[in-house]
Symmetry: C2
Subunit: 210 residues, 2 copies
DNA sequence: CAGTGGTCTAGACCACTTA
DNA sequence: AAGTGGTCTAGACCACTGA
């Protein structure tokens, strides 16, 4: 525990608002935590929160990056998609398939499945440039409450490998996103498979990972 | 652009400090951004910052998790390590090799390379339980300023596969950490290779990824 | 120059915790 | 009851921006 706010006021001859400003800066950096009635404490290291600051040079949304639309359409959900989106089997969904290019070479293959809203126009520009949770929110006409991301490693299957211009069995980074609305009902699911040899996710972190 | 702070004071009959408190809450959520002399603006969606909230059930530091120390010692850095840590070739470094177990089965193989400080004791407990940046800071006796993490996908090589109890060519998630001190000089490097079939990194995000 | 946000003062009342 | 942090008032001066 560190001294109380009024202690600092006396010690440095400054107002409590000013002390609080200083403490807030430390709190934002995750160094301290305050509890009403108890006091302010130096935090224990946190392992469960990790802020990634992605450099602008990431393939996604960087300079040499480009998007090639492979297909947009309303299809019948297969069992996997239906189960993940918690839909009855054989429900209609909106499917988008994209290819991410970096310097005109494919680096990632992206499939997106969104709960289908009849009569809702699908704007091509948004497919190209909107981030997935953003796109889902717009299509559904509501704000997504949470976005669950899963990173994993896979071996590229025959089809994906062909699409990415590499060979089956090579490593692939799989980035899955599940966009959740109110009461955590799933609104959309996205699976992006990246060429493991040409794509890496690099970031500066705050907080500890391991 | 949203109205000026003094506008809100008049409109709601409250103090500027109170208005600022409200605006700060919005700023912390990433909804608005302020610029001195210019004004306060609604932010464009940010793609470059991603906060991962890792659930406590992550293999790293979760219940069934365990650490097996494979070896600790001072060794001569090979060319790869020397180049990454920006050391002259054939410099002595501290090397730690660990195995992460989940329910008594290995899920990840971790190698850590830290700039060697003579006479600095290496405490076994810290090897087991401290996060990498934390361990490096303690060993070097200074605070690490930044931590750069890289996620990528690889195929397991013969040796790693054997260590993880699986077979070569299977997918592996590679998590690399480079701990940087003041003036961004490298202090330590860690490479963790996870069994792609048994480990996935799952998180709730704030901000957009793609 | 007027308008903006950033910082600070010197108070005040409140909700909460702990002894 | 004493001490803690959370919130708010009613001012003030400053650095910066843009017309």
């Amino acid at each position: 525990m560190i001294p109380g706010e009024s202690q600092f006021c006396i010690q440095y001859g400054i107002t409590r608002m000013t002390v609080r400003q200083g403490l807030r800066l430390l709190a934002e950096e995750g160094m301290i935590e305050s509890f009403r009635g108890k006091g302010t404490f130096v935090t224990r290291p946190r392992y469960n929160e990790l802020t990634l600051e992605l450099p602008d040079s990431q393939p996604v949304s960087s300079e040499g990056a480009n998007v090639k639309l492979l297909g947009v359409g309303v299809v019948i959900a297969n069992n996997e998609v239906a189960s993940i989106l918690k839909l009855r089997s054989r429900t209609k969904i909106l499917q988008i398939r994209k290819l991410l290019l970096l310097n005109s070479r494919p680096v990632a293959f992206d499939r997106r499945f969104i709960i289908y809203r009849k009569g809702q126009p699908v704007i091509e520009k948004e497919i190209h440039y909107a981030a997935f949770p953003e796109f889902v929110s717009k299509h559904m006409g509501l704000t997504a409450s949470r976005n669950q991301v899963t990173f994993s490693a896979v071996n590229l299957d025959e089809e994906t490998a062909r699409t990415l211009g590499t060979s089956a069995g090579k490593p692939g980074l799989r980035i899955e996103q599940l966009v959740l609305g109110g009461e955590d009902q799933p609104l959309g699911w996205s699976v992006m498979i990246c060429d493991g040899e040409r794509y890496r996710l690099q970031a500066i972190t705050k907080g500890f990972f391991e």
